[in-house]
């Protein structure tokens, strides 16, 4: 009985949810928050985007992402060397924040999803499924790749008057990664993951 009831996380009003067809969304009748939005073929689709994301993440973090040329001097940066530069200037907190939001959180997101989705794809539950999925949800607001992309664009416009900007391989990989990771998040149906814990 209790399983079919859901409380709105915006206002705590309890609703009885029956099957909602894919493509429809159930909203709270009182405050308008989303109660539930089922996703089509969630595990397969989300896993496909996760695998693509893992490859792109590797490229994005190893190849140079921007080159910068003044006269005959050329400077190429990878993401890691940029963050290292900030550490050297004693901007410890900012460097850590950038490292966390642009590298660690996206990496953990991809790893969590691989760990959860590959076994679920074959109808098996991985160990500590609940803990790993909780970690994924807690970290969710701290992944900021899309904002970082806009940051690169703005700084490129700022620098273009000083010198020649040479876009690197990692820049394109980053751009693709932004879309692939948001597709991974959008296609994932959290309810399906929680349901598989009940199944055990």
């Amino acid at each position: 009985m209790v399983e079919h009831l859901i409380a709105c996380h915006g206002c705590d009003l309890v609703h009885a949810l029956s099957d909602i067809p894919i493509g429809k969304t159930a909203y709270c009748s009182r405050c308008g928050s989303i109660l539930y939005r089922p996703k089509r073929d969630s595990i397969n689709r989300s896993l496909a985007f996760t695998l693509a994301g893992a490859i792109l993440f590797f490229i994005a973090n190893t190849c140079p992402f921007l080159g910068f040329k003044i006269g005959s001097k050329i400077r190429e940066t990878t993401l890691a060397s940029g963050i290292h530069q900030l550490y050297q200037q004693d901007m410890f907190i900012i460097a850590s924040l950038v490292l966390f939001t642009v590298v660690l959180v996206p990496l953990l997101h991809i790893l969590c999803m691989l760990y959860i989705l590959i076994p679920l794809r074959f109808n098996r539950n991985p160990l500590y499924l609940a803990n790993v999925f909780r970690l994924y949800l807690v970290l969710k607001p701290w992944g900021m790749l899309e904002i970082f992309m806009l940051g690169i664009l703005v700084s490129a416009i700022k620098l273009v008057k000083m010198a020649t900007i040479i876009p690197g391989t990692a820049l394109y990989a980053f751009l693709a990664l932004v879309f692939v990771l948001s597709a991974m998040t959008v296609t994932l149906d959290g309810h399906v993951v929680w349901k598989s814990i009940d199944r055990q």
């Binding site: 705590d12 909602i20 001097k73 900030l86 929680w194």
Partner: protein, 218 residues
């Protein structure tokens, strides 16, 4: 995205009134046996409302408001070119883009770095007051405002990333060099603290006042 009314039957009760607790993470409705129980499905500790939500949010909002001042006054970058050093605040960065005729970029930085953090602080203060002063007539609008702060707050990180890329790339000794200033540190703190503030506020408190008013009526 339309409302699927056929599948929803609105009960007139909240989880709390039914003696249930909605799990914060997995949204399972649980019975609360004692004060220290955890969700049987995902293990998150169960609270009917976020703990000390109002006091905690106030503390974070006040801290962020204080940091907002040095974040806007102190330089965020020092640019050295051919021996002369120029310091820039967030606002002078915006003005630079207006003068160089890239007003869309100026607008983006202004919105992300100056307008959004301020808007977020104003909205959170409004929400806190609405809970404490029992402004129940606009409860639905306040819930919308809360969702807005969750959505736009992260975009303030933009300037931090711009500074990171500039510092990382422009490093040619005496010829051209950019270093980050203390303003950037305060600004980063404002963004992080307001994100925690939005997280610690519980939107259900807005509606709880409505409930207690009903109880007084009947």
């Amino acid at each position: 995205m339309e409302i699927n009314r056929s599948s929803i039957t609105a009960n007139a009760a909240t989880a709390r009134e039914m003696g249930l607790v909605s799990c914060h993470r997995c949204h399972l409705l649980c019975k609360l046996y004692d004060q220290k129980s955890a969700c049987p499905r995902c293990g998150t500790s169960l609270h009917s409302r976020k703990k000390e939500s109002v006091a905690r949010t106030w503390a974070l909002v006040i801290a962020a408001s204080i940091f907002y001042i040095p974040a806007n006054i102190l330089p965020v970058t020092y640019t050295t070119s051919l021996g002369t050093v120029q310091s820039d605040t967030i606002m002078s960065g915006v003005i630079y883009f207006i003068h160089s005729d890239s007003w869309p970029i100026a607008l983006v930085i202004f919105v992300a770095s100056i307008f959004v953090p301020l808007l977020k602080l104003v909205i959170l203060i409004t929400l806190l007051l609405s809970v404490q002063l029992r402004w129940i007539s606009r409860a639905k609008d306040f819930t919308r405002l809360y969702r807005l702060t969750e959505l736009v707050g992260r975009w303030s990180m933009l300037d931090i990333y711009v500074i990171t890329v500039l510092v990382a790339l422009v490093h040619f000794d005496a010829l051209a060099d950019i270093e980050a200033g203390m303003g950037a540190l305060f600004f980063a703190m404002v963004v992080v603290i307001t994100m925690f503030a939005a997280e610690s506020f519980d939107p259900r408190l807005i509606w709880d006042n409505l409930q207690s008013t009903h109880e007084e009526k009947y």
